[in-house]
Every structure is written in C-alpha cells, then in structure tokens.
C-alpha cells in the first residue's frame, strides 16, 4: 500500500485507504443507528478500534459490489460525495438521516510532505471520525421504527456509470439540522464527514 521507503502514499494506496474507510464507516453507521440488529455484526480490530462489521452474506455482497465500483471511480477521480441515507422502512420512505462523505482531490504541490501521507497520522484521523460517529448519538433523534438505508454517490458528469446504477433524487431531509464532523486526508484525497438529521422540534 504505502511506499515503505519514503512513506508517501501513492494514488493507488490512497484509493485503497479511502475505500477501506468507506467500508468500515458504512458498517459502523448501520450498527450504530440500529438499521440491522446487533446480532448480525461481528467484531473486527481495525484502526486501533474494535469495529463492528456486518456478518450477513447478502449485505456483504451488496456492499462489496458498491465498494468495487467506488474504487474504480476513485481511481478516475470521479467521486465527489458518498451519501448514506437512512429512510423509514414504511411506505412513506421519508429520509431521517443523511451521512455525507465529501471526497476532494488534494493539491499535491501544496501539501506539506511531512504531515500528509503518514499512515499513522491518517489512522488516527480515521479513528477520530469513527469515534465521532459513535458519539453522535448525543444529538441524533431516536429511531424507534425499522429503517432501511440507501447509498448515493455523486459523480462527475463524465464518469462512466454501469447499468446497475440508476439516477436517483438526492433524498434531502425536509427540515434538517446539519452537523459537520471531522475529516481526514491522505496526500492525494481528503474526506470530510457530515451528518444531517430531521429536526423534530421544527
């Protein structure tokens, strides 16, 4: 992954890091928000934390397909945002939460070589984001009915979209509160996290 001698991250390495982060972040959100019951998750040690990963085969296959496609797009630099949408499972299909991960290509000339590209620093930053996702239960409303999730990817217009993917509406939330979470950066990509949730008091 990382070029051991100079400890700078190549494009391929960065794409791998970002894709891995997305995989674990999506699994974390599914676990924390209770989209699937906790029995369907198993523990995996990653980023120095004990992460919960779904053990259901169907779900894993679905996620793997999406992540493989994400990887192709990341290599082309086509991904702008990945959005995990939590909708109510009933007919109304109302969006309750919207977790946004914005991907930006880093300006490699301006990035300081010492701070960016260090694997340990990146792992710590990712760790902080995952911890924040867990801590967000402080302000997120309770989801007391069965919910489903949807994955949306914002790509550039020129991106090649396979047939299995369809255009979708952005699934915005009617009256939402937004909270910006942390971000992490490899020397090639920077990922910012944010969450929007329905404001029940409005």
């Amino acid at each position: 992954m990382a070029d051991g001698a100079t400890s700078t991250i190549s494009l391929r390495g960065s794409v791998d890091l970002v894709q891995e982060f997305f995989e674990y972040a999506i699994n974390s959100i599914l676990y924390q928000r209770g989209i699937y019951p906790p029995e369907e998750f198993r523990r995996v040690a990653k980023y120095g934390l004990s992460m919960m990963v779904a053990s259901d085969d169907g779900l894993q296959t679905y996620l793997k397909k999406i992540l493989a496609q994400l990887k192709t797009w990341l290599e082309e630099g086509d991904v702008q945002r990945l959005v995990v949408v939590v909708v109510t499972g009933v007919e109304t299909n109302e969006t309750l939460e919207r977790w946004t991960f914005a991907v930006n290509a880093c300006d490699t000339e301006n990035a300081a070589p010492s701070t960016a590209g260090d694997i340990k620093a990146i792992t710590k930053q990712i760790q902080a984001i995952i911890r924040q996702i867990t801590a967000s239960v402080t302000f997120l409303p309770l989801l007391d009915e069965a919910c489903a999730f949807d994955l949306l990817v914002y790509t550039r217009k020129t991106a090649a979209v396979p047939g299995a993917w369809e255009d979708s509406d952005p699934k915005y939330i009617a009256d939402s509160q937004e909270v910006k979470l942390r971000s992490f950066t490899t020397s090639v990509h920077s990922v910012e996290a944010a969450v929007a949730y329905k404001d029940h008091d409005a």
Binding site: A45, G48, V90, K120, K124, Q125, A128, Q132, A135, V137, T138, F139, L140, P141, L142, D144, E145, A146, Q177, V179, R182, Y197, K198, D199, H200, D201
Partner: protein, 310 residues
C-alpha cells in the same frame, strides 16, 4: 493529548453528560450549554414567573419551560422531570386539557422517566386523560410489552382502537409492529434461564393438592367467622373520587430515601497490615491498545510538593 483534542467540539467531549432525548438535540444549543457556564438565570426566572394555573392557556408556559430546560440544561434531567410532575398534578382535574395533545405528551414524558409506569397509566385512565389519544395507548402497550405482559399489550391496542383514539394510523402501525415482534418471539424464543439448582433440590414436585371446594352457604354449618353488619349504614349515592391524586415521586419513594444522619462516634481504626503488594500480573489475554502520544511524553515530575488546590 494531541492536536486532535483542541479541535474536539464541546458536544463530543461532554457526550456522556447530555441526557438522552427522543427528538434529538440542537448541536448549537448543546455546545453553548457545555461551553462557558451559561448565564441563563434571567431566562429561568422569566419562565418560572410565567407559570400559573390561571389564564387563557396556562399549559403553554409549562410546555415552553420544559422544552427550554431540556435543550439548555442537558445535564440536569431532574429539573425537567420535576417540572413535568408539577404540571401534570396541577391540571389533572382540568376538563379542557383532558385530551389536549400537549398535556397528554407531558404525562407520557413523565411516565418515560418512571421505572414502573403502570400505576400512572391506570391513574390517567381513571381521570380520563388521553383516552382519545393514540400516543397514550401505544405508550402503555409498549411499556407492558417491555415488562413481558404481552396479552395485556394486545388488549390495550384493541381498546385504543375501540375508543377511536386518534391518529388511527399510529395505532394500527404500532399494533402491526407489535404483532410482528410477537411472532418473532414465538419463532425464536429466548433461551430459558437455567433455574438455580438449590431451589429445585429443596422442593420436590408433589402432586397438586386438592383445592378445598367452596361450600354453599345453605350447607347449614355455622361459619367460623361472624360477619359484622352495620345497620345504620346509608348506601353511598354520590360518586366518590377514591384516587384523587397521583402524588409526586418524592412522596411515593419516601421509604427508599434516607435523610442525612450525624456521623457516628466510632472512629475508623487503621489497618494493622500494610497494603498488599501487587503480584506481578500475567500479560493480558487481549491486545492492549497503546496510544503513542501517551507513551512518548511521560508525566512531568512535580517540582513542588502537592498542595491543596484553592
């Protein structure tokens, strides 16, 4: 620790101090509450002054005050709880609020913080508060289901529908979810808890003893007890309110709280033996996570003896 900590927002560093709230919280208000000591005494005084039981719509003052306390005092769950208690007791006989959505929600929020809300729900039913509100029936059924009274919960949903509680879609949706859970429970019954061996050994199973049959009064045998009949008692005609008040939590739980008592005269004797030394610990069976920042910077040696902080 590291640079990351200086950027951590107040809501994240104080996340354990916010009482959970079903509707979620506003992060800006949360950050303000956890930030520098909020100087909102004026606001609190203003809200307190607005509370009264007279006027056009006194309930509104209570609801705004409760909402204010919840959002701006996230650590102090007791203040909001006691306010709700006051509000519920103040208006319990007020006819115009019997089915007011805000008032019923007050009661339900109050019930949420009680360990055993069964009595409270029965009191509400007796006082006819919230009988037309689906939220009331759903909340009661849900709490019954949580305590294992599944049949009771099913009955409550039916009764709610019979009474025509609104909104009906809420009742039907929650009832459907409840039935799905019941079916799930039957398909995957939770594993039976093993009974402690001691009890079963001491009580061998016996054949059920014959229940004594109740003999009809015309058997002629004199009853063992003489039943006293008060000749002068007039039948009660006026309806008696035999459960006028629910009482506050402090009154109900007074046996469980102890007031302060003087410290006893007995002094603690110093232990005769010295503190036991730690035996060399075996390495732990799991991977201990080592935070490099903590290892790299050891605690600075104190250059002055520790003094009492003033």
């Amino acid at each position: 620790m590291s640079a990351l900590d200086t950027e951590a927002p107040a809501w994240e560093t104080s996340k354990e101090n916010a009482a959970p709230r079903k509707k979620g919280r506003d992060v800006a208000k949360l950050n303000r509450a956890f930030g520098a000591a909020p100087d909102d005494d004026a606001a609190i005084r203003h809200h307190e002054a607005a509370l009264s039981t007279e006027g056009d719509d006194p309930l509104q003052a209570f609801t705004t005050y409760a909402a204010y306390l919840e959002q701006h005092r996230p650590t102090d769950a007791l203040a909001a709880f006691e306010l709700r208690e006051r509000c519920c007791r103040a208006f319990r006989d007020d006819e115009r609020y019997k089915n007011d959505a805000r008032y019923v929600q007050m009661w339900l929020d109050y019930a949420d913080n009680l360990q055993d809300p069964d009595d409270l729900f029965k009191f509400m039913k007796k006082k006819k508060v919230g009988l037309q509100s689906a939220a009331f029936w759903c909340a009661w059924a849900l709490r019954s289901e949580e305590r294992g009274h599944v049949k009771n919960a099913a009955e409550l949903y039916k009764k709610g529908l019979e009474k025509g509680a609104l909104p009906t879609e809420m009742l039907t949706a929650k009832q459907a979810a409840f039935e799905a859970r019941a079916v799930d429970r039957e398909r995957n019954p939770p594993p039976p808890r093993p009974r402690p061996r001691g009890l079963t050994a001491q009580r061998p199973s016996r054949a059920p003893t014959q229940q004594p049959q109740s003999t009809p009064a015309a058997s002629g045998t004199t009853p063992a007890l003489e039943i006293f009949v008060d000749e002068g008692l007039r039948p009660v005609t006026a309806p008696v309110d035999d459960w006028p008040d629910f009482g506050s939590l402090r009154e109900r739980a007074k046996e469980n709280t102890r007031g302060p008592t003087p410290w006893t005269e007995a002094a603690l004797s110093a232990p005769k033996t010295s503190a036991p030394t730690l035996a060399s610990a075996a390495p732990p069976a799991f991977d201990v996570f080592v935070d490099d920042d903590c290892v790299a910077a050891p605690a600075p040696a104190p250059d002055a003896p520790t003094t009492l902080r003033d």
